[in-house]
Symmetry: C2
Subunit: 321 residues, 2 copies
């Protein structure tokens, strides 16, 4: 149903009713100014990341808009966590599709409000427009890292250990579950996996621990193998990843039990949307919060090992076009 | 023509071939990192603004993509100029539509490269995705302003003079010209106006002068009356704007010559996309670079005066939904 003209919220009404309450810091200037003004923070660098989502590409058309908004914040928070940065604020651009009347916009804003409070963010500015196409939104997130210490992808050194901060593969299984295409696990597991896909948990809780030990890090958004491979490429090293050591959730292990283990693990580690952190750290670093899954070696690129023998993955991760 | 699959550039190829060359500062980390790391600049605040554009809403489907990219940077640069901020860098999110193969993406990147160089910007990061809908893009622009001195919309004081930095109305006439709907001016004037609509000139050249004198400022993106009205609202004052003092271009004056002057001027000052700066300054401030067009008074809201008498505009500016 296309809402009538009287139901079409305008830009200024949308800002005044829904977004201004989210802009609760003086830096946002009450969203009255077309710009935010962020004072320098001595001893800290500003870490900025920007991710965009499109309905039908990055989320499903029937996903509730409060979770869509929360996921948009969370994928950006995941980028901050991988740099070891502390969340600060964000700018938001939304192109509302024709179906977005007041109830849809209110749901979207309620999702933002909930996760702002949860993760310590504030809305700093942005833009709201309309589109004849699918709902499209982008967030530019800002965080603080101690001066010169933000973790990069490029710092892995030969001899480092490769770690991952939690279960891998639930993002891929969750997408299947959300589309009603996941078989071989219980109905409860389908629900839990779909929920994790719709609302991932970015690892902001261990960003400080990553900052303390990591030589290189990335969040697992495109698939563990793809993201580990990019650390290898950016660092100019080789990474050997031991497939059987990659941690799985209970649901992932259930799904795997009825399949060829090597093929199933290759699928799980090539799917995206996990939002764990994959990182390298020197062997002497104390790392109690993550699971060792490989090693950094001389050479170039990622080698996937299955019980000690190199194996070739059919695909390495999602490519968003 | 929908390009075949082999012509569909992937995200990583687009970044590697077209965007990485634009990220020429270490803060961008070669776009390898999902995040930019910007050191604090002692004595300066970071000014951030974010604008989005949608094909068919903010630009015409047959507009060349190099000028679309340049206009996207320029509307954001205009926001910086109104704050008195010096351009520094930007993050970019693009959702490529199906028609965007390599030639279209190359044109877009070439436009970015040209205006980056012209305005002293560098690409810091962002995201590139695809969309089944219209081409959609947003820029988050960053600039520097001396600590505590970025000009806001909220600082106008009773007794201040209202100024505008150049001709008003060419954006609205230019949109008509670009759509082939402008009559009553020469063919040359149609071309010049359409060019100004497609490629506005943000007033970064006088940002420092605005910073030196302005008590409040905004760029003229939604229409002079709307943007002046928002200064009045944000500042809690009344602004009286003298319609006959608003400067026009030669083309605008030509167009006006064949119409009722009051109605024509109301139309020109209610159209958008001019990207001049409207600002207030104390009467004693030396302002040689802008034209006085009104005064700040006690009270609330904007009053439009035509030869000394209040007149009611039929519309105050564009509302992007």
């Amino acid at each position: 149903v296309t809402p009538g003209p009287e139901d079409r919220p305008g830009e200024f009404e949308t800002i005044a009713r829904l977004l201004r309450p989210l802009a609760d810091r003086p830096e946002a200037r009450g969203l009255l100014d077309d710009a935010a003004v962020v004072p320098s923070r001595p001893g800290y660098d500003l870490v900025l990341s920007k991710d965009a989502i499109v309905e039908g590409v990055h989320f499903l058309p029937d996903d509730p808009l409060d979770t869509v908004a929360r996921k948009l914040l969370r994928v950006n928070l995941s980028d901050l966590a991988a740099k070891g940065a502390e969340p600060y604020g964000y700018l938001l651009a939304v192109a509302w599709s024709e179906r977005c009347g007041w109830p849809e916009r209110e749901a979207f804003a309620a999702g933002l409000a909930e996760d702002q409070a949860r993760f310590g963010l504030t809305l700093l500015g942005g833009d709201t427009v309309s589109t004849p196409g699918p709902l499209t939104a982008s967030v530019t997130i800002l965080g603080w890292a101690p001066q010169g210490r933000a973790v990069s992808r490029a710092g892995a050194r030969v001899g480092d250990v490769l770690y991952v901060t939690g279960p891998i593969g639930d993002g891929g299984l969750g997408l299947l579950a959300a589309k009603g295409e996941l078989v071989g696990v219980s109905a409860d597991a389908v629900t839990r996996l779909a929920d994790r896909y719709r609302l991932p948990a970015p690892r902001t809780d261990i960003a400080a621990a990553v900052l303390a030990v990591a030589s290189a890090a990335a969040d697992v958004s495109d698939g563990l193998l793809a993201d580990a491979g990019r650390i290898a490429d950016a660092s100019g090293v080789s990474i050997a990843l031991e497939l059987e050591r990659v941690p799985l959730s209970a649901e992932g292990a259930d799904w795997l039990a009825s399949r060829d283990e090597r093929e199933g693990r290759l699928w799980l580690t090539s799917a995206g949307d996990d939002y764990q952190i994959v990182f390298t750290a020197p062997p002497e670093a104390p790392v109690a919060f993550a699971v060792p899954i490989g090693a950094v070696r001389d050479g170039r690129g990622l080698t996937v090992l299955w019980r000690g023998t190199p194996t070739e993955p059919p695909r390495r991760g999602w490519t968003h076009r």
